[in-house]
């Protein structure tokens, strides 16, 4: 039927990811680094702009450190499960650790005056700032983050670079 043909031929680019990958890595900084480099290469190859790459890298670094350190307590036997999808206009990533989870609302505001000099607690805040969406599952051991790419990197909007 002509209608079906037309439906089939309709481009699917907006709904299916260009790249989708799932990996499990040990709770190890070097493994996490390798994965981060791999994701950066994927983003660079798709010509994602520098600022969005910086944002994703930073959020990813914080999320993986949280998973290794706080989630899996540096236990090398525990794994981190990562799934990411790259779409033409956005990047999604889900990171799950094998830990007991946590309640993100328990993390004190690091910018409150009394917390400003505490050396910890800024990772989650940076993730929220640099990604468009950061959500935890009920247990608190899976974080899902999404980054919408800026359509045209407008140099007047952000000073240099």
């Amino acid at each position: 039927m002509p209608l079906t043909v037309a439906t089939i031929m309709k481009p699917q680019r907006d709904v299916s990811p260009a790249i989708a990958l799932e990996v499990s890595i040990p709770s190890d900084a070097a493994e996490a680094r390798r994965l981060q480099d791999e994701i950066e290469q994927v983003l660079l190859a798709r010509q994602v702009n520098d600022r969005d790459i910086f944002s994703i890298k930073l959020a990813l670094e914080e999320a993986l450190v949280n998973a290794i350190k706080h989630g899996n307590q540096m236990n090398h036997l525990k794994k981190i499960h990562v799934a990411y999808q790259l779409f033409p206009d956005h990047f999604d990533i889900q990171i799950t650790d094998d830990g007991p989870g946590f309640d993100p609302s328990d993390v004190p505001d690091p910018t409150a005056f009394e917390n400003l000099e505490r050396p910890c607690g800024r990772g989650l805040m940076l993730m929220r700032h640099y990604m468009n969406e950061v959500a935890y599952n009920d247990l608190g051991n899976t974080v899902t983050m999404s980054k919408l790419f800026r359509t045209n990197p407008n140099p007047s909007a952000n000073g240099k670079k």
Binding site: A29, A30, R33, R51, F54, K57, L58, E61, E62, V65, K69, P110, T111, L116, E117, R118, P119, C120, R122, G123, M125, L126, H129, N158, G159, K160, K161
Partner: protein, 120 residues
């Protein structure tokens, strides 16, 4: 290649009475790496007795919140010892990290090294 614990991560130079520190690494990431950098910075205050520290971030493209934690601790150690810490030459993207976390209010941040030297 991931473990090089003995490598020096800082380049230290004395300009007048100010100790100017440049970072060897372009990315200040990884727990182990940050630990080493932190220890070497603390050593400048605790072992070598320097009191005016200027950290030049000219080489640094990237740092994480764990690195910010070390800088906060360094700042406290210097204050306790009656010293001063100034940061300079921070890439605009990294400066934004300081601003988001309001650490631009905690640290004395100067644009250029020359201005920073005069700010002590």
């Amino acid at each position: 290649m991931s473990s090089q614990p003995r490598r020096r991560r800082l380049e230290v130079e004395q300009i007048g009475d100010v100790t100017v520190v440049n970072f060897v690494d372009r990315k200040i990431l990884d727990d182990q790496n940050i630990q080493i950098i932190g220890d070497q910075l603390f050593g400048l205050v605790e072992n070598e007795g320097f009191r005016k520290l200027l950290l030049n971030f000219g080489n640094v493209e990237y740092l994480s919140s764990a690195a910010l934690g070390k800088l906060i601790t360094l700042n406290k150690k210097l204050h306790t010892a009656g010293g001063r810490l100034i940061l300079c030459n921070i890439d605009p993207q990294i400066l934004e990290v300081f601003e988001i976390t309001k650490l631009d209010k905690v640290f004395n941040i100067q644009k250029e090294e020359q201005a920073a030297l005069q700010a002590f």
